[in-house]
């Protein structure tokens, strides 16, 4: 019996030895200097991967003994955000340098995930070439800068000239009001019922795409807004909100947009870029300034004729009131993790990744709007595609999302309202009332304002 007990004990002991051998991170391994870089990569978005690969080579050659560990995350914007937030939660998985959506910067600063870069930026000569509007995107409530912008974007109407010409609409097309859009869409529909005349994203399937390339262009064109910057309160009960929903309802009810079932498919945008536009099955849609990145050589939906076939027009305000056009801007940044063991090295890598050469290549490949003056002045940027000037001009009327930590929930409530309207489960008035209730619930009654 005793021998058996001994045997058991020794088995357990050996199991313990084996298990402890599994614990990660022997101290020796941590002394070799490694930078962990986390970013997004999808089958249709590889420009960033290209940029980091180049930066890795450049950086490792210049800094002997440093390894840059690239960790691309495959996923859409929502999934990437979730995965990144989970990685940031634990010091053992938190990256040193990461790719961060501008609208998440503030809430991640609040969470203590992001390193303040002010002292580092003072010593970086290139920082002066970044334009001020873009710099503001990396600022937090305390006035400090936490993230360096990679590029920005605007939104406009992209239309297929051939489809419009077939319906007798002259080129260049420039709608001056919502009514102009509806008139043109009805014409296209009457001419060829198999074509989708004018699509606008709606519902929760397309996530931020629903609001950035759709609802906000409508809402801000009514003179209303989502958030009152002065009083720092969320707007509820606005007539503009109901009107915007009613416009979507008209589009979907009259079958001027895609069917609700297609709209709720998270992959609908792939069809917009890859199938409907190139095949002349879509008249127009609201999309980002980055649209040419999908069609140009090396893009995921190469389309040699897009420069001739496509046109771009600013999205009009409701009745054409000043300033006559609406656009939304987002954009992404690079940030340094607050828990990094090598803050100086991490920042140095960030500056390598965003130097003029790498910035230019990335900006052109992903059709971003340049934030560095030297990149903006470069001829290869200006001539990258025929639309660069048009979409860059929209910076003068563009809006940014309120980047507070409540924003993702508010955005979801807006998406829900659009979904309820296009599926017909709620009228625009009911959906707007639901939204008001949801906002009050999320931020509390004292943080809302009736306008």
């Amino acid at each position: 019996m005793r021998r058996r007990a001994l045997k058991t004990m020794s088995l357990i002991a050996s199991a313990l030895v084996a298990l402890t051998a599994c614990t990660p991170g022997s101290p020796a391994a941590e002394e070799s200097r490694t930078l962990k870089v986390v970013y997004q990569k999808t089958d249709s978005f590889t420009a960033l991967d290209t940029m980091f690969q180049a930066a890795k080579q450049e950086f490792e050659a210049a800094n002997q003994g440093v390894t840059v560990e690239l960790q691309p995350i495959q996923g859409n914007d929502d999934d990437y955000g979730t995965k990144l937030a989970l990685a940031l939660r634990s010091p053992s998985t938190a990256p040193d340098v990461f790719y961060e959506d501008t609208f998440k910067v503030r809430s991640d600063v609040d969470a203590g995930y992001v390193l303040k870069l002010d002292t580092h930026l003072d010593g970086w000569a290139d920082w002066d070439t970044f334009n001020d509007a873009a710099k503001a995107a990396g600022k937090a409530d305390d006035g400090g800068t936490y993230a360096v912008p990679l590029g920005t974007d605007t939104r406009a109407i992209w239309y297929n000239k051939k489809v419009l010409a077939a319906a007798g609409i002259s080129d260049p097309w420039q709608p001056r009001s919502w009514q102009d859009i509806l008139d043109a869409a009805r014409k296209i529909k009457a001419n060829d019922p198999s074509v989708i005349p004018f699509n606008m994203y709606a519902g929760k399937g397309t996530g931020e795409g629903t609001v950035m390339q759709g609802f906000y262009e409508l809402l801000y064109g009514t003179g209303s807004s989502l958030y009152d910057e002065e009083s720092k309160k969320w707007v509820v009960g606005s007539a503009g909100f109901t009107d915007s929903l009613a416009f979507l309802k008209t589009l979907y009810d009259e079958k001027l947009a895609v069917s609700p079932a297609e709209a709720l498919d998270a992959n609908v945008w792939k069809k917009v870029f890859g199938e409907w536009f190139p095949n002349g099955k879509l008249g127009a849609t609201v999309e980002g300034s980055y649209a040419p990145s999908f069609w140009q050589e090396g893009g995921s939906y190469e389309w040699p004729g897009y420069e001739q076939d496509m046109g771009v027009a600013p999205f009009p305000t409701r009745d054409g009131q000043a300033p006559g056009a609406v656009s939304m801007s987002g954009g992404w940044t690079l940030a340094v993790g607050a828990g990094t063991k090598e803050p100086d090295l991490a920042f140095k890598f960030l500056t390598t990744a965003l130097n003029e050469k790498n910035s230019l290549a990335f900006t052109v490949e992903s059709s971003q709007i340049a934030v560095r003056s030297d990149v903006a002045a470069d001829s290869s940027y200006q001539d990258a595609n025929p639309f660069v000037k048009d979409v860059s001009d929209l910076v003068s009327v563009t809006r940014y999302r309120p980047a507070t930590s409540d924003y993702p929930r508010i955005s979801a409530a807006v998406q829900e309202a659009t979904e309820a309207v296009i599926t017909g489960s709620r009228t625009p008035e009911q959906a707007a009332a639901d939204y008001d209730a949801a906002v009050t619930d999320i931020v509390g009654g004292d943080k809302t304002v009736r306008k």
């Binding site: 019996m1 005793r2 007990a5 058991t8 004990m9 357990i12 199991a15 929502d78 979730t82 937030a85 989970l86 940031l88 939660r89 998440k104 809430s107 991640d108 609040d110 969470a111 203590g112 995930y113 519902g203 929760k204 399937g205 069917s259 609700p260 079932a261 297609e262 709720l264 998270a266 930590s405 993702p408 929930r409 979801a412 829900e416 979904e419 309820a420 599926t423 489960s425």
Partner: protein
């Protein structure tokens, strides 16, 4: 040196100690963590990510007032009841009974086909089901070929689609359990009943089913708990949509915790799910213990 009686007694438990430790760390640990987190306002990002505050039962109060919750609860019950308790269970039993009568070739062919869906990894099965039910999918092409009206299954009938997918994927388990159980029913008993003039269905209801009662309860318990936790299948096929029409509790918990970054609220939903699982489990255990009628 003689080993005392007490030492020997306690040494007897040593071999199971690692198993108990593993269960505590990997099973009880997360459950307790989830319950603890559900009493805080822990977030994925924002101020509450750094310093979660103790909020007591606030998350549960919010949950009870949330209009999404009753719908989600009802959908979960429908999903479990329809696709596990009725679908997988009855279909599995039927296939197992019929396989005993079928020719060996037919029986092994059917067995392979049913088990094939089960051996697929969940994500692969989910994509296969998505491809089958989607707008341009196999089902619509088949129906088109037969001249029947086509439908947007995932949009118009999301619950039907995910329940059918879950039945397809999970029936193999019930079938295997029942095949094993039916093999244990002594042939003499069935033969005796046959001699007494019992028909086929009478033998099934009065002889076979009572004799495999234990297996039925075990099977029900396992498939109920498995189905309660199904997430990937639903997430890939409908992502809970349209308009929350297929948001079962696991999907709701995921959305709240990860999409909206409200970990406290998400874990509250998950805790409710654990309780529901516990209630089902307790009911089945009672069923196992009760004397035969």
């Amino acid at each position: 040196m003689p080993v005392s009686h007490r030492t020997r007694q306690s040494l007897r438990y040593l071999p199971v100690l690692p198993a108990i430790l593993l269960l505590l760390v990997f099973l009880a640990g997360p459950v307790l963590w989830a319950f603890q987190a559900s009493l805080t306002n822990a977030g994925l990002t924002g101020r509450s990510a750094r310093n979660p505050e103790w909020v007591g039962l606030e998350n549960y109060q919010r949950l009870l007032a949330d209009p999404a919750f009753p719908l989600s609860l009802a959908l979960t019950v429908l999903f479990v009841g329809g696709s596990a308790v009725l679908g997988q269970n009855l279909l599995g039993l039927a296939i197992a009974v019929l396989m005993r009568r079928a020719r060996p070739a037919v029986s092994s062919l059917v067995g392979t086909a049913v088990v094939a869906a089960w051996v697929l990894p969940e994500i692969v099965a989910a994509f296969a089901a998505y491809a089958y039910f989607s707008r341009d999918g196999t089902l619509n092409q088949l129906m088109g070929g037969l001249g029947l009206a086509q439908a947007d299954w995932l949009y118009a009938y999301p619950m039907v689609a995910i329940m059918l997918a879950n039945v397809w994927r999970g029936t193999a388990f019930s079938m295997l359990v029942y095949r094993a159980a039916l093999n244990d029913v002594p042939a003499e008993v069935t033969e005796a009943a046959q001699m007494d003039g019992a028909r086929g269905w009478q033998r099934l209801v009065f002889i076979t089913l009572p004799m495999i009662r234990g297996s039925i309860a075990t099977n029900l318990m396992l498939i109920t708990l498995q189905t309660l936790a199904v997430f990937t299948l639903i997430w890939v096929m409908t992502a809970g949509g349209p308009a929350n029409a297929s948001t079962t509790l696991p999907v709701l918990a995921y959305q709240e915790a990860f999409k909206f970054g409200d970990i406290g609220y998400g874990t509250a939903v998950a805790s409710v799910l654990i309780i529901i699982g516990g209630v089902f489990g307790a009911a089945y255990i009672r069923l196992l213990r009760e004397p035969r009628p």
